[in-house]
């Protein structure tokens, strides 16, 4: 019974990470395109679009991140202790990136002088790259098996190794891909035809980059953690890995042919499956070779409360969030001032 509960909590955690990677990823990706937009008139238009697409859901996505943290420390306390003991450098950098990003996004709207505004754009853009890179790097470090093991492995060694860097690189490209895809949707919604093709091209480019970077990352995993690579390609992770391999080119194809059916959903499925491929390949281990879901689980009563609270959320927050997005997409939401 407790094993099942613990597995359920681990699944909730994986869904939380996936939600943050996709929904949050779209936000970070928009920041990356903001950074790359340059100062041409077209680039400025792209920035305006990014601003307006992000404003209403500006801080909502961070909630996923907080949820993941809370689920880990309540559901798997020893895991929490191990990853923070080993990976605090990564988390500190990601955290500061996150805060700078939020602060400077707000500051863009307050900045009067062009110079201040450019500085705000720059900090916002750079932190949009740094934050996903270092959050994903922590997952790579965990997957590499360097966390929670030998005391001889220093925090720096555990944090900065080929696999953590590879995961970070994949996440930056994946967020750029997600961001571009969602911006195509926003550009269509505002009827900005030229921006549609502007971001369409960027979806295709980042899909290609994702294939290249993803392949390099896979080789890195094969070298550093062969058993994980095997379980991703021939094991529990395989179906999800396949979905990603099919969907990324498919989304690029749809963009190339200007077919806009379900492309955002497919984008989310592509990136989400990538996260699932890692999660399922690594199960039942939370820390590969060292700590399983079962070993790390809190006592049963705590797990039950977590499940109850989660179910409550599914039934209360799910519809509420659906309502928010529904109103948002129908243009029913408007600033009061």
């Amino acid at each position: 019974m407790n094993d099942l509960l613990a597995d359920l909590i681990a699944l909730v955690l994986l869904i939380g990470i996936t939600a943050y990677s996709t929904a949050g990823g779209a936000d970070f990706g928009a920041g990356i395109w903001d950074l790359l937009a340059g100062s041409s008139p077209r680039g400025r238009e792209a920035r305006e679009l990014i601003d307006h697409a992000m404003a209403p859901v500006w801080e909502v996505n961070n909630v996923w991140l907080v949820l993941c943290i809370v689920v880990v420390w309540t559901g798997f306390p020893t895991l929490f202790q191990s990853i923070f003991a080993s990976l605090y450098p990564l988390f500190a950098i990601a955290l500061i990136g996150l805060v700078l990003r939020g602060a400077f996004f707000a500051f863009r709207h307050v900045a009067d002088q062009p110079r201040a505004r450019r500085m705000a754009d720059l900090v916002f853009g750079i932190s949009s790259v740094v934050t996903p890179f270092f959050f994903a790097a922590s997952l790579g470090a965990i997957a590499s098996g360097q966390v929670g093991g030998h005391p001889a492995i220093t925090a720096l060694q555990a944090s900065f190794n080929p696999m953590s860097m590879a995961f970070g690189a994949v996440s930056v490209v994946a967020t750029a891909f997600t961001g571009a895809s969602f911006l195509v949707g926003d550009a269509r919604r505002y009827g900005a035809g030229e921006l549609v093709s502007y971001f369409r091209r960027r979806v295709i480019a980042s899909a290609a980059a994702l294939v290249v970077v993803g392949s390099i990352a896979l080789v890195t995993i094969e070298v550093q953690a062969p058993s994980l690579a095997q379980r991703m390609l021939l094991g529990p992770g395989t179906p999800f890995a396949l979905v990603t391999m099919v969907l990324v080119p498919l989304v690029a194809f749809l963009m190339w042919r200007s077919r806009f059916t379900l492309f955002r959903l497919l984008t989310i499925a592509a990136v989400g499956s990538l996260v699932f491929a890692w999660g399922f390949a690594q199960s039942p281990y939370l820390l590969p070779g060292r700590l399983t879901i079962e070993q790390a689980a809190s006592p049963q009563s705590t797990e039950i409360l977590l499940v109850v609270v989660t179910l409550g959320v599914v039934f209360v927050i799910g519809p509420a969030m659906g309502f928010l997005y529904y109103l948002d997409q129908r243009g029913e939401l408007e600033s009061p001032e």
Binding site: L65, V66, V71, W73, P77, S82, F84, H109, A320, P336
Partner: protein, 469 residues
């Protein structure tokens, strides 16, 4: 650098936690209580068909949302700090201590979604629907504060766990959430939130009154929040008194620190101010004979347990005792000042059926917001510093929970955070000042301008958006 590396990270970790929590706690009163006050104003507007009240509620909702966004940032930092600075606390007791945060996480989620709907729904939802949607907000805020206080209470009066070989093997969820301290912490802190939010909002309009604006807008925007704050002050004195007496039983070292009591004795004086030295001598304090014994047990014969009756390594050190004692005294003092101002307000309402007319009242009311914020900080200092050296009272020491990271790492992170927080504070204040300036222009008959807030209006097309902002 090398020298710093050799130290443990305890000192910078404590400073960093104190700094980030002290900042976050300032955002909590408006975060939890402002939705209720705003809804009350919206309700008044709908019920009395008063467009001015609706305009006030609308503006407050913008401030509320901006505030919430900043609180979301500082709250996210705090949750990571538990891992970066205090991995031992969650690693050992996450299954029990973490429960509150699990609830808080979801409550926060719900609040974020509904603040979005409430804020962006003003123009499009029907007024009644909009008001009803808003009614979700006060309970989610209360649920969040209940959850966080459950966690804090667990640190003060841990319970509900079975420990074997230093590992939590069983958790009684209800007992771990509803520990003894929650009974008083929840009421004392929740009252503090409504009191502070009321006084802080009202203080803005007290300043407007002093600058000569006496119209319906300013009077209404002052009256409603100030009345809420004023109603809370007597409640706060009572819950504070009950808390203090319960702390004497639950955390006797903390109680002795708040009263700066060194030796166990009956007829214990209430020492106002002053400080204690390492031999237990009080300097500069004003002792009121037997009052402490009387307050604790309603009789001067009540024996109060002193700090010297505890082993030195289980009680706060002299510096911590002095911080706790002075913070506690200042908090209580501010509480009585707030109560006095509230009496003035109530007396004017009762006898003259009108707001007080004296400028001195509005000068005090203008300071009441800042005073309430200070009192919240002091109360938090009292409970946290007074618990030292424990992170979980009687169970785990702060030093056993701290990270193994080098001190230099934490010092670096702390300095970066100080700079970032200063930036956030600057942006936040600039944003609020801009909003205020724009609203003043609108009230003076100027045309509303667009832009200037992250929650800007959504254009139907990009090309249609005016430049600026």
């Amino acid at each position: 650098m090398l020298l710093l590396d050799a130290e443990t990270a305890l000192l910078p970790s404590r400073i960093q936690m104190a700094f980030t929590l002290a900042t976050h706690v300032l955002l909590v009163p408006l975060g939890v209580a402002m939705p209720a006050i705003t809804l009350l104003m919206e309700g008044i507007g709908l019920w009395r068909k008063d467009p001015v009240a609706l305009r006030i509620a609308r503006r407050w909702s913008v401030v509320m949302a901006v505030q919430f966004a900043v609180g979301a940032v500082t709250g996210t930092i705090l949750s990571f700090e538990f891992g970066i600075l205090w991995p031992g606390l969650l690693g050992h007791y996450g299954a029990a201590f973490g429960l509150g945060f699990a609830i808080e996480g979801w409550a926060f989620f719900l609040e974020a979604v509904f603040i979005g709907i409430y804020l962006y729904g003003w123009n499009r939802l029907r007024p009644r629907t909009h008001f009803l949607v808003g009614l979700v907000l006060p309970p989610t805020g209360l649920l969040g504060s209940f959850a966080v206080l459950a966690a804090n209470s667990w640190m003060n009066t841990p319970g509900g766990v079975t420990i074997q070989d230093g590992r939590v093997v069983d958790v009684d969820v209800a007992a771990a959430l509803f520990t003894r301290a929650l009974g008083y912490e929840f009421w004392h802190f929740t009252t503090a939130l409504y009191l502070t939010a009321g006084f802080v909002i009202a203080s803005v309009y007290a300043v407007a009154w002093l600058r000569g604006r006496r119209d319906h807008y300013v009077r209404l925007a002052f009256f409603v929040p100030f009345a809420i704050g004023a109603l809370m002050t007597p409640v706060q004195l009572v819950t504070g008194d009950l808390s203090s007496r319960a702390v004497a039983v639950d955390e006797p070292t903390k109680y002795a620190a708040t009263e700066a009591t060194w030796s166990t004795q009956s007829h214990n004086p209430e020492v106002i101010g002053g400080f204690i030295d390492s031999s237990g001598q009080i300097h500069f304090g004003v002792p009121i004979p037997s009052l402490n014994s009387f307050l604790l047990g309603y009789s001067p014969d009540t024996v109060v347990r002193g700090l010297s009756s505890f082993p030195a390594n289980t009680r706060p050190n002299v510096v911590e005792v002095n911080i706790t004692h002075l913070a506690f005294d200042a908090m209580v003092g501010l509480g009585f000042v707030g109560f006095a101002v509230s009496l003035w307000f109530g007396w004017a309402l009762w006898r003259k059926r009108d707001l007080p007319l004296s400028r001195w009242f509005y000068r005090l009311a203008a300071c009441a917001g800042a005073g309430a914020y200070v009192a919240v900080e002091l109360g938090w200092i009292t409970t946290e510093v007074g618990r030292q050296p424990w992170i979980v009272y009687g169970v785990m020491r702060v030093g056993d929970a701290v990270t193994d990271a080098p001190a230099s790492f934490v010092w670096t992170m702390l300095s970066v955070l100080v700079v970032v927080y200063a930036l956030i504070a600057f942006f936040f204040v600039t944003l609020l000042r801009r909003l205020a300036a724009r609203w003043r222009r609108e009230d003076a008959g100027g045309s509303p301008e667009e832009g200037g807030v992250p929650y800007g209006p959504r254009p139907q097309s990009i090309e249609g958006r005016p430049e600026g902002g």
